[in-house]
């Protein structure tokens, strides 16, 4: 029995947040601090003829102006790409542009000033002479003959081509199919918009020649590695990177950004602590964006509804430079998920990663997996409609059965566990699916546009076995570290390489360790986000922290228990095999002799006095583990939504939403439910509102929160959430990732519902976002054109 795991413990981090005591990077004020502001390109594509910073330098309060050439001359390196499959072209990415600018927002110079307002004034005084060039923004058109080249040495703007699966078998399945569902569509660009804008601060210590960098990162160790080995050139052992409280990430704070190089460079050049805080406008044009695929897909089905083949070609927009993990997203996190929850005997997928004059695209919540699920689920819905079948029945017919795990898909992955029929049962029950369909019939009879959406989605979470990741092209292994340090009085400090930026690890990791050791949760403190305090770790993304970071802590706790058990046996003069560790009370006794019990704190202290230890046992009580998972974990979902569309305005109202997820075992149900709910909101945001839209000249049309439609409280009905639990066999806690399932499912479910509502009008498909304007126009075209 566990005392804490499985309980909705209130979060230990919350008292500081609700009192405004969060320790965010922008709050940092150091004596003598100077402020950095970045001059950014207003052009999507232009040669830099000259930069004149003299007027800026003359402004009172300005300390210096630096250009990309200054950084280059001092040996600053290119921002690296950490996922490089064979044959990839990785053009240089200088922290400040030196020859030409390649997207609106590309940095060209920085101002350093005593005051942030003065720094902004001075930015406006820098004169840059640009020679504008034609731009390309569309992932597919980037490969057209004669398209402007973003990088002269990347022909056709093609960085990589990544095929997976059996092309011949798939072609045969499609050619011989009873029916083929075809679709060409774009999965639109999204802008992550974590509420905290990125920020970076740095302090150079000349006495030890060492640098401390504070940055809003999901993975401070990765940033230190890249700063040390590639960009800043200060060796890793002289670098400390701290990511304190970080206000949301959703992927966008994984990557190594230019300002993380510039700010410490400035701090050393000027000899004073320096800080840069992004404005929201800068966030829009510098934070890595998400999605942005153009896709052509074909699903082959038999007349009775059996899936026989799936062929997918995707042009994935990489933007102007390859962001840290960008090529990973439309390849190993996308093509590999094309089997969905289904048995599809032949699958072939290929991705073209193309360079465009837009902000780099990289992982955004779900990262490749929402694109895969949206694609599969949309095709399945269309197949159901074509075959005249209920969409859930068609899915059920093709589901991987509960007794078929581990299930090897034709696209590399081996699913760990699941019970998809039971998942669907629960979703139908929770949503009252039968009642929804009956209500829909009545509504349709009355001329109302009511739709029921359903999706069954899969995620590969917890990346990844290091050997697999590196084999595919990752530059680092993807394990995680965990230290359990027991102080002489029995108080416990947990050091983790994971990073919490909203996930609540200070609570959930304490729950895990307290249960593993049998100590009160208040005696456990979780430390993360500081490379000087925690061992090298990989960080938090891909829904990996509980499964991998949590498992590293389980391994360390096992080592602590083993040492204490050996010590207790020695002290009571019994054999180790006879000892029992009671994980509810944290006591160790001889089996059947409770009077021999020794307490956790008592034993910890015995390792401090260290005067009576078994032969060969070292004093002290601390254990470190690096946990490398055996496989991904495979969470899955079945979500149902009901929407109604206003026939006159095209506006969509989400009437009801029911979510059933299988994220394996759960440490803290309250936190998992929070992740699911927040994820759904982001997923619905993609389906209905959000679009990082560019015009053909490369201007971002949705460059502020006035223009980019973020989900708000009034966009959602109360959402019903439930779970089934099929534990993952691949980690000791049986956990599957919980952070991204909601986003993956939310998008597919709401799109499904809207298209279902519009089906009676003869509208087969509309791209996301399903805005009122787009739907209104489609209704007008369908009804006036006789399509109804």
């Amino acid at each position: 029995m566990s005392t804490y795991i499985g309980k909705s413990m209130k979060r230990v981090e919350d008292p500081r947040f609700v009192q405004g005591k969060g320790r965010y990077v922008a709050n940092l004020a150091l004596p003598g601090m100077i402020h950095v502001a970045v001059k950014r390109s207003p052009f999507a594509h232009a040669r830099i003829a000259s930069i004149d910073g003299s007027a800026a330098e003359a402004l009172d309060g300005v300390i210096a102006v630096y250009t990309g050439q200054d950084l280059l001359d001092s040996g600053v390196g290119s921002l690296p790409c950490g996922f490089t499959p064979p044959g990839i072209k990785t053009p240089p990415h200088h922290p400040l542009a030196v020859d030409k600018v390649r997207h609106v927002g590309d940095g060209v110079a920085v101002v350093v000033a005593e005051d942030p307002y003065v720094a902004e004034d001075a930015v406006d005084l820098i004169r840059v002479d640009y020679e504008p060039l034609a731009a390309v923004v569309d992932a597919r058109k980037a490969m057209d003959d004669g398209a402007p080249l973003v990088h002269d040495d990347v022909e056709q703007n093609l960085s990589f081509h990544w095929p997976l699966g059996d092309a011949d078998a798939t072609a045969h399945a499609i050619e011989s199919a009873d029916h083929v569902v075809q679709l060409e569509f774009s999965n639109q660009r999204l802008i992550p918009n974590a509420m905290e804008p990125r920020a970076c601060a740095a302090q150079w210590d000349g006495s030890t020649e060492s640098m401390t960098v504070w940055t809003t990162s999901q993975n401070p160790h990765t940033i230190r590695l890249l700063l040390g080995a590639f960009t800043l050139g200060i060796p890793e052992h002289k670098l400390r990177v701290i990511s304190p409280d970080v206000g949301g990430g959703f992927g966008s704070k994984i990557f190594h950004y230019a300002e993380e190089v510039i700010v410490p460079w400035v701090a050393r050049a000027v000899g004073r602590p320096a800080k840069w805080v992004a404005s929201r406008s800068e966030a829009f044009i510098t934070d890595a964006h998400g999605r942005d695929h153009v896709t052509r897909a074909e699903l082959a089905v038999t007349q009775d509804g059996t899936f026989t083949g799936l062929r997918v070609t995707t042009w994935a927009n990489m933007g102007a430079y390859l962001s840290t993990f960008a090529p990973l997203i439309p390849t190993a996190l996308y093509i590999t998920l094309l089997s969905g929850l289904y048995k599809i005997p032949a699958i072939f997928g290929e991705a073209y990663g193309t360079m465009t004059n837009t902000v780099p695209v990289d992982a955004y919540r779900g990262a490749g997996r929402p694109e895969a699920s949206y694609l599969v689920e949309t095709l399945v819905d269309l197949a159901a409609r074509d075959l005249g079948m209920d969409p859930i029945e068609l899915r059920r017919k093709n589901l991987i059965a509960a007794d078929e795990f581990p299930y090897q898909t034709p696209v590399a992955l081996a699913y760990d566990s699941g019970d998809y029929q039971r998942l669907f049962d629960k979703a139908e029950e929770l949503s009252e699916y039968g009642r929804l369909r009956r209500q829909q019939e009545e509504a349709r009879a009355a001329g109302r546009l009511v739709g029921i959406g359903f999706s069954g989605c899969i995620e590969a979470s917890g990346p990844a076995p290091s050997a697999v990741a590196v084999g595919l092209g990752a530059a680092i292994g993807l394990y995680e570290s965990g230290v359990v340090r027991v102080h002489p009085t029995g108080k416990v400090v947990v050091l983790t390489g994971s990073h919490s930026h909203g996930q609540g690890h200070e609570t959930t990791f304490a729950q895990i360790v307290a249960d593993e050791l049998g100590v009160p949760i208040d005696d456990v403190e979780v430390v993360h986000g500081d490379t000087d305090r925690t061992p090298y770790g990989v960080g938090t993304y891909g829904s990996r922290s509980a499964a991998i970071g949590g498992s590293a802590l389980v391994k360390s706790a096992e080592k602590i228990r083993a040492k204490l058990t050996e010590l207790a046996a020695h002290l009571v003069e019994a054999s180790v095999e006879d000892m029992v560790y009671d994980r509810e009370t944290g006591t160790i006794s001889v089996q059947g002799s409770p009077e021999t019990a020794l307490g956790f704190a008592q034993l910890a202290f015995a390792l401090t006095t260290a005067d009576n230890l078994p032969e060969g046992m070292e004093p002290g009580l601390e254990a470190t583990s690096f946990y490398d998972p055996a496989n991904f974990t495979f969470p899955c979902s079945a979500h149902v939504a009901q929407v109604e569309i206003d026939r006159d305005t095209g506006e969509v109202t989400v009437v009801s939403y029911a979510a059933v997820d299988d994220v394996g075992n759960v440490v803290n149900p309250m936190i998992v439910e929070g992740q699911i709910l927040g994820g759904i909101a982001q997923g619905v945001g993609q389906a209905l509102w959000e679009h990082g839209m560019y015009d053909d000249s490369g201007q971002l049309l949705a460059g502020s929160m006035m223009d980019y439609a973020m989900p708000r409280a009034d966009g959602f009905p109360p959402i019903a959430v439930d779970r089934i639990e099929t534990p993952s066999p691949h980690n000791p806690l049986g956990i599957k990732g919980a952070g991204e399932m909601g986003t993956i499912a939310g998008t597919a479910t709401i799109s499904s519902a809207v298209l279902d509502a519009l089906a009676p009008l003869g509208i087969r498909y509309l791209e996301m976002p399903l805005t009122a304007e787009k739907i209104h126009d489609a209704i007008v075209a369908a009804t006036e054109g006789g399509g109804a």
Partner: protein, 157 residues
């Protein structure tokens, strides 16, 4: 150095500060008064992370100049807890998991404090409309709505 010396009264304490006319209230609170609980999420009045109260009314501190605030009572998140006791809204956000990363939380708290002072018993619809003033990217809002509802009930009892 600022052109204007003003007395800014925040949570009952008066800060005598020198500011330029263009300095926003949000920056004055954070940089001049050291009250970093007020967060800047967009600086164009959309996200509401910087919401504070001016004489009890919720305002976006990024859209107000500090020099406009002389003679006005400013309330920020730092003033909500009293004598080590969380304000009922703070407690409710904690109890109902109304926050994840915590960045938008001070703004939501101040919005709700101001709104419930004006109408202690809003309908569900009214409450959702009020809470749609601010942005949160983590929670999906459901638990924020729950928390404010629970706090409103508690504060009425």
């Amino acid at each position: 150095m600022g052109d204007h010396t003003i007395d800014l009264t925040v949570n009952g304490t008066t800060h005598s500060i020198d500011v330029e006319a263009r300095m926003t209230l949000a920056d004055a609170l954070r940089e001049e008064c050291g009250l970093t609980g007020t967060h800047l999420g967009c600086e164009h009045g959309v996200c509401g992370a910087c919401t504070v109260l001016m004489d009890g009314q919720p305002v976006r501190a990024c859209l107000v100049f500090a020099v406009q605030c002389e003679g006005v009572e400013i309330s920020t998140v730092e003033g909500l807890a009293r004598d080590g006791q969380l304000h009922p809204l703070q407690q409710a956000f904690w109890d109902h998991h109304g926050l994840q990363c915590g960045f938008c939380t001070p703004g939501f708290l101040m919005l709700a404090v101001g709104a419930l002072a004006e109408n202690p018993d809003p309908s569900d619809e009214e409450m959702i409309e009020i809470l749609s003033s601010n942005l949160c990217r983590c929670t999906g809002y459901q638990n924020i709505v729950k928390a404010v509802k629970a706090a409103a009930e508690h504060m009425r009892s």
